[in-house]
Symmetry: C2
Subunit: 262 residues, 2 copies
């Protein structure tokens, strides 16, 4: 299964410019599963909830979905991307899995980071796993990484690959995702954006360093902090179904729910 | 609070030699809380369950406890150490917290690693938190690190400092403990042993690199892979009670139990 990430600098509020950039960076490459950043077409640093609502679109309809469905169809592969979602009076920081046949699946970010609490409503979908070409695909967004329950829940629901669209500004996540993969024996594709955004006197610098990590904690592919690039590699999602740690340890069988507090 | 670890090479089956080594390495230093390795006086690589039972002692009685109580009293500080515990027909891979006033607290290893399943019974105490000099002290042992629920449970039960006696043979734990501290905003003292042990044709090499990590994921002190040494530093356990991540994020308040699967 040809999978990977597209790391780039998102132009705030200019969906058309971001679409052009995405098309240009993907070029003619084939993929089965490609992960893009959180808020992949809108940018991140919202001036207000009103502006967030203005940039937001409903799930599965509208120009963002038309664009990604077309890309998915043309490349015959699925795309996971973050978007601002409008749903009646709510606005969510969401991600979708768009398949080449037009099917789309939705996840709404569970753990909102800092000022996102002003811009978005907390997600209400929970952590979901979707099947595509024999792979079980889970989605979490950016700050969800800090809560071990996010990846744990996805693994317990059967995820082979965790797709992790991000807009990271802190340096911890990439190392932590190695632990997430080790403790869950899953693949994880963290796609982070690059560049900076300003609002008022404040600047956010996004840290890039997107990566693909394997079920033994091995970094299979990575990027630097600034490059705009497509990174693809072949992986076998079924490898993540072997939860053996040692001849006498199995990650699922060794869990001790009787001893855990949640 | 003066805390730290004592990293050393345990001589298999020779409690007296290990006691002498411990006394010599501690010297006259003062500590409030000192963490020693898993199976601190017996060594690790058991030839059989029968031998494990032979080396094991009952909790709070016998020569191992007499020794550690004396050290705790003489240095006016508490000691966390691993020991093989006999309890009626069971044998546990346990750790105790021995206080200078003679009090002792018990934890039995929840997640047994590999051949330990031949030598020990799985722990039945669950993850416990004990108070000493205003600090809330949780204990987990070695392989418990791989299961995020171990440290999570200790944090949810109020631990400021996770004491983590270990006999690590793999290279992943030290980095993962940084994630454990970040995701729980706790201190962690991982005390690993050094040296090698052989049974039949098999050799286990213990990787040292003991460390103290702070609630922001900062490595406050560490050792190399081979040195036998005492490492002490001052820390304020109350720092771990601030679960603030950003002005709008609190590690406890942001948990979404409704969205987790366990």
């Amino acid at each position: 299964m040809r999978t990977g990430f597209l790391q780039y600098d998102v132009v705030f509020g200019d969906k058309e410019a971001n679409q052009k950039k995405i098309l240009s960076l993907i070029g003619g490459d084939h993929f089965d599963l490609l992960v893009l950043p959180e808020l992949a077409l809108t940018g991140y640093f919202m001036p207000s909830r009103a502006k967030t609502g203005e940039l937001a679109e409903e799930f599965a309809t509208g120009e963002t979905f038309e664009f990604f469905r077309n890309v998915a169809r043309q490349h015959d592969g699925a795309i996971v991307f973050g978007f601002a979602e409008r749903a009646s009076d709510k606005v969510y920081n969401s991600a979708a899995l768009a398949c080449p046949d037009g099917t789309a699946y939705l996840y709404r970010k569970t753990h909102l980071f800092n000022l996102e609490k002003h811009w978005f409503d907390p997600g209400d979908t929970g952590f979901r796993v979707f099947e595509f070409r024999g792979a079980r695909i889970g989605i979490m967004i950016c700050f969800d990484w800090l809560f071990p329950e996010s990846a744990r829940t996805l693994m317990l629901r059967g995820a082979d690959i965790i797709c992790h669209p991000s807009n990271l500004v802190l340096p911890y996540c990439q190392d932590a995702m190695i632990t997430r993969c080790l403790e869950n024996r899953v693949f994880a594709i963290t796609c982070n954006r690059t560049g900076m955004e300003r609002q008022g006197g404040e600047t956010l610098a996004f840290t890039g360093r997107s990566q693909v990590v394997g079920p033994r904690g091995e970094v299979l592919a990575g990027s630097d902090g600034t490059s705009e690039k497509l990174v693809l590699l072949d992986l076998d999602p079924a490898v993540a179904r072997d939860k053996t740690v040692t001849p006498h340890n199995d990650l699922l069988g060794d869990r001790r729910n009787d001893s855990y507090c949640c």
